[in-house]
């Protein structure tokens, strides 16, 4: 898994996540995001274009971050879910509790 900070727009930190979010790699996602939250970032747009795979451990990591940001008055939205990643969000019902957009551009319009 590779997490990249690709810059800031409209007060949102843009992030890309590539590879796999599984039980082994997800703690790194939580720590990296947690670090940015500690630095005062509370609005995130996470681009999953390059994410090939996610398991329940990955969802757990995202939910932890969503709940933490909610408590801090921030928010996190996801963009560009494809294939089984999209399928996992749909069958788990996560697509109804976390805002998901087709593209970073579409997400930016709503932020």
């Amino acid at each position: 898994m590779k997490i990249t900070n690709t810059g800031k727009q409209k007060d949102c930190l843009l992030i890309t996540v590539e590879g796999r979010m599984d039980a082994v790699t997800t703690p790194e996602f939580e720590q990296t995001l947690g670090g940015w939250i500690d630095e005062g970032e509370i609005r995130f747009i996470v681009d999953f274009t390059g994410l090939d795979y996610i398991s329940s451990a990955g969802l757990r990591g995202i939910l932890t971050s969503v709940k933490r940001l909610k408590a801090e008055g921030g928010r996190i939205v996801l963009t560009s879910l494809y294939g089984t990643v999209k399928e996992v969000f749909e069958i788990s019902g996560f697509s109804t509790i976390i805002p998901i957009y087709e593209s970073v551009e579409a997400a930016l319009k709503e932020m």
Partner: protein, 135 residues
Amino acid sequence: MPEIRSAANIEHLERLVEFVAGHAEMAGFTANRINEIELAAEEVLVNIFQYAYPGTDGDVGIECRIEDDVRLILVISDKGAPFNILEVPDPDVTADISDREIGGLGVFFVKEMVDEARYRRAGNSNILTLVFNKV
């Protein structure tokens, strides 16, 4: 039947999942279906790593075979206390965000991805057989 055994520990997760994915790939499963098989395998394995051997070490075994060129059969076994993962109740996938619990979601994914699942207790082993059709 090709088989891999390993200590039931999270550090072996990726190697074990790759073993399964490799068989699906060789048999010509689509990338999407391979992802679904990997998901089911990860969820079962992580469950074993976390719960099968509380306070002690143990092993997990995976057998993998292709049947009639159209089905992948996965047999995952451990020697933990009797536990039928298929009896774990489904989570509420309509719950609001503040009530969301992740427990049970992994098992739910397994049930969603397989075409057939069977559990049996044999001797001191839990034996879970998962069947994945190619299409």
